[in-house]
């Protein structure tokens, strides 16, 4: 496989001096779905904007399909479809006209058959003569996708496509993404939901503070991230872990009132049922159970510690 997007040492310092990108290196393979995962303010939108020509990079280089995004911007941009984070559409325009406009802007003549296919795929065909302001929020987002697809891009950027949309639309969006992948389109989507990255990505890049912390196959990352802890509150405190529970990797909480069991959600079952059986066999009474999952923030903190000092 070859890299269709190659970013090297990319920096962006905004006017006012804030450095939003601190030397980003990233290679995205043709045909893959890459999730750019990071908290708010991490630099996801800035990175995408720099690749698409909305923001001028202040250093480094980026290529899309071999075209430098600054020097050969026409070649690069012709390959790119962008669905921005904010819904920005002209309220009084008709759906079909705004899609035609996008196609023209990218240098293509009319192709009504293609536009029909895209609008049908996004369940917008019935609304083609509706004005934008008459549409629901979810439909507006689909119009943005239609506009991004109408010049048949090879690379599609989706900036938080499912932020603030309902569950149903999120599923639809994922279906659309899967369909596009099947057509060979490379897709980069940003999100701050681990679950979203998990659901659709092939690889995940974690970005924070303007730096890429890691790029990894989704499966490997999820194994690392998918750790949960079960906290078992006992009716009677214990001084030490009972012998009968030695085969479990348990920690004793402060005061001996709790047992903490760390397990992976990725394995063949969690073992919790058998653990609970063993607990009762050992004569320990349970007052309460609680599970916690490491949040994205915890994971970032962990990653920064790992990578840094």
């Amino acid at each position: 496989m070859t890299a269709i997007v190659e970013v090297s040492g990319l920096t962006k310092t905004y006017k006012g001096g804030f450095q939003a990108l601190k030397g980003v290196d990233l290679a995205i393979e043709e045909g893959e779905i890459l999730a750019l995962l990071g908290p708010n303010g991490a630099g996801k939108t800035t990175l995408i904007s720099a690749l698409c020509g909305i923001v001028q990079p202040t250093g480094g280089t980026a290529r899309v399909g071999g075209f430098d995004v600054v020097e050969d911007y026409r070649g690069a941009r012709a390959m790119i479809g962008l669905v921005p984070q904010e819904v920005a559409l002209e309220p009084f325009e008709k759906v079909i006209n705004t899609v035609r406009f996008s196609r023209g802007l990218f240098g293509y003549g009319k192709d009504e058959a293609l536009i029909e296919r895209i609008l049908r795929q996004l369940s917008l065909w019935d609304k083609r003569h509706a004005r934008i302001r008459e549409l629901s929020g979810g439909m507006k987002r689909r119009v943005l996708i239609a506009k991004a697809l109408c010049h048949e891009p090879r690379v599609l950027f989706l900036d938080e496509p499912t932020a603030g949309v309902d569950v149903e639309l999120r599923r639809d969006m994922w279906d659309v993404v899967a369909e596009l992948k099947a057509q060979g389109v490379t897709i980069i989507l940003t999100t701050h939901y681990i679950e979203e990255a998990e659901a659709i990505a092939d690889r995940v890049a974690v970005i924070n503070g303007g730096q890429i912390l890691l790029v990894e196959e989704k499966a490997a990352l999820m194994r690392r991230m998918g750790c949960k802890e079960l906290t078992i509150e006992l009716t009677e405190p214990v001084a030490a872990l009972p012998e009968a529970l030695a085969r479990w990797d348990l920690r004793l909480g402060a005061g001996g009132e709790t047992l903490i069991y760390a397990y992976s959600t990725q394995g063949e079952g969690t073992g919790i049922t058998r653990l609970l059986q063993d607990l009762s066999a050992a004569g320990l009474g349970l007052r309460d159970l609680a599970t916690t999952q490491s949040s994205l923030e915890d994971i970032f903190v962990g990653l920064i510690k790992e990578g840094g000092a």
């Binding site: 909305i54 990218f106 240098g107």
Partner: protein
Amino acid sequence: MNWHAIWAIYVYEMKRFFRTLMESLLSPVISTTLYFVVFGAAIGSRISEVEGVSYGAFIVPGLIMLSVMTQGISNASFGIYFPKFIGTIFELLSAPVNFLEVVIGYVGAAATKALMIGVVILLTAWFFVDLRIAHPGAMLAFLILTCVSFSLFGFIIGIWAENFQQLQLIPLLVITPLVFLGGAFYSISMLPPAWQTVTLFNPVVYLVSGFRWAFFGMADVPVAASLAAIAIFTGLCLLAVYAIFRTGYRIRS
């Protein structure tokens, strides 16, 4: 050149115009009629002729210029400001188009609208006064050049403006006074000598004078000076547009 993109922008902008066609054309027709009633009838009864032309006919070129300039500016400034305001500008920035193509699309549409309004005013004026056009070719050339250059100017204002107040500031503070003091309703020779000199620093005087020459063959300033004035103004606007293009001023962060 990405001709499809230019055409897409042009058509899109013209559609906006046609969506509000009645308002777009009705208001200049009404205001022209009012100008005729107020200036033509009221003042015209006192000033019967200016250099051999009836006062009613004399003010027609100035009236057309006035509308064309203000329309060119407001159409083009709004045309590019609006996408900045609602955020749809991202699409222009991320499309394989260069700034020149964007300018041609927006300015071309704004100039076309201004031209159409100019023509409608001319036709309206024909109802009220006898008009003859001595140099039709020159008349059209002046008209189109003015439409284009003031649309360019409007485009620059639209890029520069960061809010609606700023969008209206320049037309209100600069253009309207220049146009009213630009000899649309009188001949410069009717002013006291000191004011005649001051007036010569007003670029609009040259445009109105040249345009009026195309109608009646008479001018306040030499036609060559008029041509030079509009060429310089267009040149300055193009220079500013080029500077914006080079620096990404107020469009690309």
